[in-house]
Symmetry: C2
Subunit: 422 residues, 2 copies
C-alpha cells in the first residue's frame, strides 16, 4: 500500500454519496454550471499543469498521436466545459418511480431509481475523461473516485481541483469527486477490491485493462469497450446503401471500438459488391485481408492493400484501416461466424429482405444489432442518450452505451398499515 490511504478515500466517498443522494435535480444542475464556470476560470492553471505533463511525455518519448490525446488547449477546455453544461440539461433519472402497484393484501409497492453510490473509474491517457465522468456521476447522484493514467497526473489533479472548488461554492460535498493522485500501480489493485465502499468500477481503456479488472476486482466491474464488429451483406442488399455504410463503418474513425472489423459477403452479391467496394476503400488506403474466394474480386495483386487473410484476422479488433473480408454461403453461415468471433459489441446486416433482417436481429447476441446502418452509431449521444460513460459488452446491469440511467440502481419501497406475513 502506498502513502495514499485508499480506505480513507473510500470512506469519504461513501459519506459524500449519502449527502449527494439527498440533493435535488436543481442543486445538482447548479453545481454542474458552477463546474463549467470554474473550468473556464481555471484555464491558465489547467494549461500550466498540462504543459508539464506534455513536457514529461516528450521526455519519455511518447509518440505524436499519444501526445495529442494528452494535450489540452483553451478550445478543448471550452469544449469540456460545454459538455458539462450539456449534462446539466439532461433529464435526471433519480427519483423515477416504476412498477407501482397495490398487492391483494393492500401493501403498496413500487421501485424508485436511486444513485448507485460510489463509482470508481480507471482510465488511460485523455484528461477530458476526468471531467466527463465526474459530471455524469454527479448528475446521477454518485460520488466518483477517479484514477487516470500517470501521463496526465498533473492535468487530472488540476482539473479535479477546479471541480472541487466548484463543488465547494455550490455547497456540495467536496468528496463527491476524488482523484487518486499517486502513480503507485498497487493502488489500482486496491481500488478494485474496495468493495466496502465502492459500488461499481468502470474501466476505460484497452483489452488488457478490462481483463485485469475482471481478474482482480471484488467490486462489480462493467467490462466493455472491445469491439470486434461485423457487417453481413445479404444477397438482397442494396449496393447504393451498402458501399457508403461499409465505407463509413470502416473509415470514418477507424481507431474506435465501433468501427467495422470483418465484412461477411453473400456469395451471390460478392461479384457485384466487392470490385466497386475495393475501389472505394482504396481511396482511404484501407488494407483488405480476404479469404481465397474474395481475393480475386477485390483486385488481388493490387500491391500491399489486398492480402490473404490468416485465421487470426477473424475476431480481431484492428483499430486501424484494415478490413477482413470473407465470402459466406448465406445467412446461417454469417450467423455462425458472428456467434464464434464477435465480441458482442456491434454487428449489422445489410439486406432488403425483411425476414432475413428479423432473423439477424433475433439471433445475433450483441449489445447493438443493426439493419442497414453503420456500426458507428453505437454511442450514447448518437443513440439519443445525451452522453455516455462507457459501452458495456457484458450482459449484467447495462448493455451497450451507458448513460445517466445506467449510473443508477433502484430500491423497493413497501408501504403497509400494520402488515404482517402469514
Amino acid at each position: 500500500m502506498g502513502i495514499t490511504k485508499l480506505d480513507e478515500i473510500g470512506a469519504r466517498a461513501k459519506q459524500a454519496a449519502r449527502q449527494l443522494a439527498r440533493c435535488g435535480t436543481a442543486e445538482k444542475n447548479a453545481a454542474l454550471q458552477a463546474i463549467a464556470a470554474a473550468l473556464r476560470e481555471d484555464i491558465p492553471a489547467i494549461l500550466a499543469a498540462n504543459e508539464q505533463d506534455i513536457a514529461q511525455g516528450r521526455e519519455m518519448g511518447l509518440g505524436d498521436a499519444l501526445i495529442d490525446r494528452l494535450l489540452l488547449t483553451p478550445a478543448r477546455i471550452e469544449a469540456i466545459a460545454a459538455d458539462v453544461e450539456h449534462v446539466a440539461t439532461l433529464p435526471d433519472p433519480v427519483g423515477r418511480v416504476f412498477d407501482e402497484r397495490v398487492l391483494p393484501n393492500g401493501l403498496r409497492v413500487h421501485r424508485r431509481r436511486v444513485p448507485l453510490g460510489v463509482v470508481g473509474v480507471i482510465y488511460e491517457a485523455r484528461p477530458n475523461v476526468t471531467v466527463d465522468v465526474a459530471a455524469l456521476c454527479l448528475k446521477a447522484g454518485n460520488a466518483a473516485i477517479l484514477r487516470g493514467g500517470k501521463e496526465t497526473l498533473r492535468s487530472n489533479t488540476a482539473l479535479t481541483e477546479s471541480l472541487r472548488r466548484a463543488l465547494e461554492r455550490s455547497g456540495m460535498p467536496l468528496d463527491a469527486m476524488q482523484t487518486i493522485a499517486d502513480p503507485d500501480r498497487a493502488l489500482v489493485l486496491e481500488l478494485l477490491r474496495l468493495d466496502q465502499y465502492v459500488d461499481m468500477i468502470i474501466p476505460r481503456g484497452g483489452a488488457g485493462l478490462h481483463q485485469f479488472c475482471r481478474e482482480h476486482a471484488t467490486v462489480p466491474v462493467i467490462t466493455g469497450g472491445i469491439g470486434v464488429c461485423h457487417i453481413y451483406v445479404d444477397a438482397s442488399a442494396d449496393l447504393e446503401k451498402a458501399i457508403p455504410i461499409i465505407y463509413n463503418a470502416k473509415v470514418q474513425r477507424p481507431t474506435v471500438c465501433n468501427a467495422l472489423d470483418t465484412l461477411l459477403v453473400h456469395r451471390h452479391i460478392a461479384p457485384r459488391l466487392l470490385p466497386p467496394l475495393a475501389a472505394k476503400l482504396a481511396e482511404a488506403r484501407v488494407e483488405l485481408r480476404a479469404d481465397p474466394e474474395a481475393l480475386p474480386l477485390l483486385g488481388e495483386g493490387a500491391g500491399e492493400r489486398v492480402v490473404p487473410a490468416s485465421e487470426t484476422d477473424w475476431g480481431q479488433e484492428f483499430l486501424a484501416l484494415i478490413l477482413a473480408v470473407r465470402i459466406v454461403a448465406g445467412l446461417d453461415e454469417a450467423l455462425d461466424h458472428i456467434a464464434r468471433y464477435s465480441s458482442g459489441h456491434s454487428d449489422g446486416i445489410l439486406t432488403e429482405d425483411q425476414a432475413h433482417a428479423a432473423r439477424f436481429l433475433d439471433e445475433v447476441d450483441s449489445a447493438v444489432v443493426y439493419v442497414n446502418a453503420s456500426t458507428r452509431f453505437t454511442d450514447g449521444a448518437q443513440l439519443g442518450l445525451g452522453a455516455e460513460v462507457a459501452i458495456s459488452t457484458q450482459k449484467l446491469h447495462a448493455r451497450g452505451p451507458m448513460a445517466l440511467e445506467e449510473l443508477t440502481t433502484y430500491k423497493w419501497i413497501v408501504v403497509g398499515d400494520g402488515h404482517v406475513r402469514s
Copy 2:
C-alpha cells in the same frame, strides 16, 4: 482439474442457450409442463437417490435440521412439480420492447429484452433449488449450469436426469440444464472463472459462499442473501401495529435473511413499547440483547432471555430467535445506525408521521425499505413477482428479489435505411 471437463459443459451450455433464445413462450411453457409431469413419474427413482443421500448424511453425522433440509418426500416432490407449473403461468419477459423511438436522423431504435445466456448457480443443501432455478432459467430462455452441495449429489443427479428427459421429449436442447455431478471442490473455482461461456453466477448460501464467489469470480456474480435487518420505531408509532409487526418480523421464520435482527426505539416511546413487547416476545422465547437504557424496560433480570448487548450484536445476522434492541434519540440517530450496520437488505420504520416516513424511505440505502410492515415481505412471491431466484444486496443489475425479468438482459436494435455517421 477433475475428470469433469468444465469447459465442455460451458461450451455445450452456450450452444444450448443459442437454441433456447429462439424458443417461443409456448414452447418453453410446454417444456415446463413436461418437467412437472416427468418429476411426478420419476418420484420412485428420485426418492431412491435421496434415500442414499440421507443414509450417507446420517453416517456423516449431519444433524436432524440439516437432514430435514435434504429430505425429499412424495409430497415435497409434488410441491416442486406444482411450482414448475406455476412458473409456466408467469408472464415471459423475453421479447418485451422498451425505449422505442425514432431519432431526428430517421434511425429507428429500441431495446428488446433477451435471455442472459448461461447462468451458473452454486448452492448448498436443499435439492429443490435444482428444479426451482432450472425452471426459472428455462422460462427466461437461459441455459443453467448447476452445482449443488455434495450432500445431495445423488438427489440432484436424479432430479436433473428427470428434467433432461422432459427436455428431450419437448424437443428442447438437453444441455439447457446441466449439473456438475462431481464433488471436486476445484470445479467451483473453475466455474467462477468460466467467463468465456457463463454470463452470470448466482450463489445461494451463506456469507462464506458469497464472499468466496466475489473473491474468485471473473464471471459477474450476484451477491446477496445476507440480511442484517432493522426496524426503527418512531415516537409517533402506533403500538397496535408495532408489536405485531416486530413479533412477525422476528418470530415467524427466524432462520431466513429477511427476519429482523435489530430493533431501534425512539426514547419517547420506549417506556410504552418495550414492556409489552418483551412480554409478547417472551411467548416465543426470543432472547433480547439490549443497550443499557433498554435493559430495565425489557425486564432486566428475566433470566437468560434479557441480556446486555455487546458491540458485535449490532450488524449481526442472527438467523435465530435473538433480537438486538437499542434506544435512539430520534430519526437521525436511527438513520446513522442503519447506514453503519445494515447489510442493505431490508429495513423499516414504524411511524404515523408522514414526513418521517418519507425521510426514512429517501435516506435508507437498502434493497427494500418499509413503512409500517414486516421485513418478512422481502420475497419475490410476496412482492408480486411470482417467484424468485435470489435476493440481491448489491446494486448492479438487480436489487432485492430477482425473478424472471432479472434473469434477462436487453439488446439495442437499430434499423436504418442506409444511415451513416457524419
